[in-house]
Assembly symmetry: C2
Amino acid sequence: MKDQFYTYIQNLQNVITQKIEEIDGKAIFKEDLWERPEGGGGKSRIMENGAVIEKGGVNISAVHGPLPESMQAYFKVREVDFYACGLSLVLHPKNPMAPTVHANWRYFEMYDQHSILINQWFGGGLDLTPYYLFEEDAIHFHQVCKKACDLHPPHSYETYKNQCDQYFYNSHREEARGIGGLFFDYLKADEKGRIDHHYQFIKAVADSFLKAYTPLLIKRKDLPYTTNQREWQEIRRGRYVEFNLIHDKGTLFGLKTKGRIESILMSLPPRVQWHYNYEPPKGSEEKKLLEVLKTPKKWA
Amino acid sequence: MKDQFYTYIQNLQNVITQKIEEIDGKAIFKEDLWERPEGGGGKSRIMENGAVIEKGGVNISAVHGPLPESMQAYFKVREVDFYACGLSLVLHPKNPMAPTVHANWRYFEMYDQHSILINQWFGGGLDLTPYYLFEEDAIHFHQVCKKACDLHPPHSYETYKNQCDQYFYNSHREEARGIGGLFFDYLKADEKGRIDHHYQFIKAVADSFLKAYTPLLIKRKDLPYTTNQREWQEIRRGRYVEFNLIHDKGTLFGLKTKGRIESILMSLPPRVQWHYNYEPPKGSEEKKLLEVLKTPKKWA
């Protein structure tokens, strides 16, 4: 399964980066290969200062070796070996009317001291972080998410949508990072050791990414915007940074397993602002977004 | 002791904010009082968009109540009450030639279930984060730090300087946040219950803050700078954010004890950039700074 999934994400990286380059029309992804001293490595593709994408990365990696001590505590296991591979992407458009998107699809294996496979699972999802709320965009994104789930019962859109709202939550601000999408983890093999049904599901989700996101990007990338709207985008990007550095388990996993720092932190937005105690005015578009982030809505 | 120290930091907040306003000449500190539902509160003073200070805060707080569960694990105690008060300040100048400064001086008490004092200590320090290295500035800052220690044996500049280098360290980048200063913690009462000698020491350190920092600010605030130098400052500020959100125990303590978010995160710089894999050219001033951050120097 690990070779099968890694081949799949290698190909998917090509498909996604090609499509994003086509939409951007100016910048191309810069590729960096890296190796992890303890085992494995990755292929990062980063775009900066595009016509549409201000900063973005579509990275794959496959790492393995002894599970670091700090992660042993996290998974409540002792002295095991692990293998983890996945694709992670974050795209930060320049235009504040266009939403930031994040996605991650990963596969994990754990082995005992005799190299016997003792656990394996898939995890991941995709989620949207708008700076201005276009309800039709949120509905489109969630409808595509829902369709991928509906085609693969018993995978449940409602469950994964709720998990996404719970996971991408800045508890210290009491607000969601964005308007959600799907989040699932520990999709393990069944009692007969079969995991192919989860593989089919995660492929369906990952294959629907471009369909979920690119229509929104295309629709919003050339909308006019003001300096104040751009400022709001940069302030909201600050919340994105806070989530990724304080709460995100993926970032933590990368840091604890000594992944490549620049590949892990490619998720951080290019230009960010922190104002003291900023509150958008009542009735404004900015306030409307905050209300939805305080109380997640049903979109599909 | 707690009333004595709180009175001291209340006065110190006035002295420091008055002096910074005088140097800035344009902006003034905005004061916000806040209360913590579980007990205590604080007085935040924030300056933004000054002629010299782009963003800064000089905050005091005194919080008390049952020690939150997550902090019980941290201190390895169970079901105790606590009292903590302190002054925290961060000043981010606009001019990239002027360094950012951080300082914190705090006092902590812990009580058993019968409200008996079971532990008390002082902690804190001050440290400097330049964007361009002026060796004479680093020497001046450290000399003032050293003098405060030398006047209060057995408090040792060497020990607290090394602790500062170790504490303000971005381990995921393998570089220091800045060029250090002093860091000390758990300055506890002696076997006879006396703690006044530590109070005298921390006062000496805190009283020397303006002497350590303001000459540098005054000397650098009007130096000419280029767009590229400003960009470098904003990139380095990104490392400041990374430290505060990933590693800083003070930020963590604030978040875990449900302090006021905007007062805790006032430390974050106003405008920040993250570029992918940015490396300054060999032999540049920017590279010179990085070398000192990779290998801390003796300054005094």
